[in-house]
Subunit: 313 residues, 2 copies
């Protein structure tokens, strides 16, 4: 049996990435009900709101689901209390030190996965005792590694570096890309952008519609002086580039980003002034479907690509 | 039969990327003799030197080989005259407009392939009448597209956009990565960095040795204001970053780059002051082998990866 399916007790080794303002109980339960692993993205939630989403998700599915916790916010400990109290059995951590909470969570019987962008980080996560790592390449949306290593280069190096299963992330939105990830040695995939563009995601309809028309080169990894983040090139991005051209300080960049800008863009649908976090692969997604339709397509494409793959060497 | 093998009359659909100061007759003939397609990299050659390399390559192999011509230099027409005069049957063009010379070369019975970094460029190359395109992702070494689309995202989009065969480039140095490229719909691969790090490449031994120790994140796509280029992060790169931090003008950047800096680094082995063009995947290559050994390894890895690939969905 596939080690990722086995680890989480799921049908398909397809994990939905935890995304701010996008992946609440509705998206997470839809992915879990479709046979993948849904994740509630806690990054944009207070501990109370997270609890509400966990409880709604528990009602909406009897399949396993998890919570993604970015470790860079001050509310982490409250969020972890909510997770333990509500008996969530799977936690994905990202953007922080896997040493801090992994053993605490493991002692509570929780499966822990950490998101990494380099072999060094992967080895650290393995030492911390995580059950698997998500290896996320440069093309992924949202927060990303300064190293800029792409998924194609990163996956084989991480598979070689660690003995735990590797979940590939970044640039994956088709059955072909899932097959390619498996060929590189990944045991599962994490998919963000495609599920952001599902009917069940809580991203604003304006934003989803806008993304169906996004062209190649329409995103950029920027704000490397703060936390590097991949966003769509909208008016806010252009204004950031003007700040860079005018040699803005890190403080000026931080002030421009400000609090609430990702909510404004992703959740409220302000396409000009909002920060629009998304992966490169949005350029290949042209329609908004339900999660169930997306899963059917992914699995069909995967099977077709697998059957068509001949030994060419 | 594989369409790329068929197009070039070669055994394996593995093309060696044309690289400045690296791929003369010795490397190109070694790759062709191993069953792939060797390319003489004309970018760093005068027309006279190119002619010498073509004639030496013709003596060193009776297999097909080609010439890569970057279209951004003034010497292009002289180089094309040498190619026609010496009956070279395969030309790869890059970094320029495929409309300018493709029909001329096709009329001479020459097979033409153009290197692209977006669907728009691929469609333009197809309209110009090329036989195939090389789709090169962000992770590739040397000159690269401003779009920054990675190989994993780019290949399926190019395969969908055009009807001619697609050769994947960028981040490929293992049999696993060749298999992944095929899963994405590519019919062949172009490999640069691995062959740069072969015994037969004319890169300086200091440089090859240095690359065997390069770490993840050890390269960067920079000089985007001139022609974007991926280079190793050495002292010259650090000095460039200081210029950027000091808000240098495009003219100052151009003056810093100067003529001869890639020769200094790649060919003369000056690891501090030279410009060291190389792809991200160098971090996964730890030994210098002969081209023949590299081919044996690639094919063995490919077959193993192909045999191990199970349907996981």
């Amino acid at each position: 049996m596939n080690s990722i399916c086995n680890l989480f007790n799921i049908q398909y080794p397809i994990v939905q990435g935890g995304m701010v303002w996008t992946s609440g109980w509705r998206l997470a339960s839809a992915v879990s009900n479709a046979g993948g692993l849904g994740l509630i993205g806690a990054g944009s939630m207070s501990a109370d709101l997270l609890e509400e989403h966990i409880q709604k998700c528990q009602k909406a599915t009897d399949k396993p689901f998890g919570v993604n916790i970015p470790l860079l916010y001050s509310k982490v400990e409250e969020q972890l209390d909510v997770i333990v109290k509500n008996k969530v059995s799977i936690v994905f951590t990202s953007a922080g030190n896997p040493m801090t909470y992994t053993s605490y969570l493991k002692e509570k019987g929780i499966k822990v996965v950490h998101v990494i962008g380099s072999s060094k980080q992967a080895l650290k996560a393995q030492s911390a005792g995580v059950d698997a790592v998500v290896a996320e390449g440069f093309e992924a949306g949202g927060h990303n590694s300064k190293d800029e290593t792409t998924t194609l280069v990163l996956i084989p190096e991480i598979v070689k570096a660690v003995s735990i299963p590797v979940i590939a992330a970044g640039g994956i939105a088709s059955g072909k890309a899932i097959l390619a990830s498996m060929a590189l040695g990944a045991k599962g995939v994490q998919i963000g952008t495609l599920f952001l563009m599902s009917k069940e995601s809580s991203a604003h309809d304006n934003y989803k519609e806008y993304l169906t028309k996004l062209e190649q080169g329409g995103t950029s990894l920027t704000l490397k002086e703060l936390t590097p983040v991949r966003i769509a090139k909208n008016q806010f991005y252009d204004e950031l580039m003007e700040l860079y051209a005018g040699h803005a300080s890190v403080e000026e960049l931080r002030a421009k980003l400000s609090k609430g800008r990702s909510k404004k863009g992703i959740f409220e649908g302000d396409l000009s002034d909002g920060e629009l976090e998304v992966g490169q692969v949005a350029s290949s997604i042209v329609q908004i479907q339900s999660v169930e339709e997306q899963f059917k397509r992914l699995i069909l494409e995967y099977k077709e690509a697998f059957d068509q793959l001949k030994s060419e060497l």
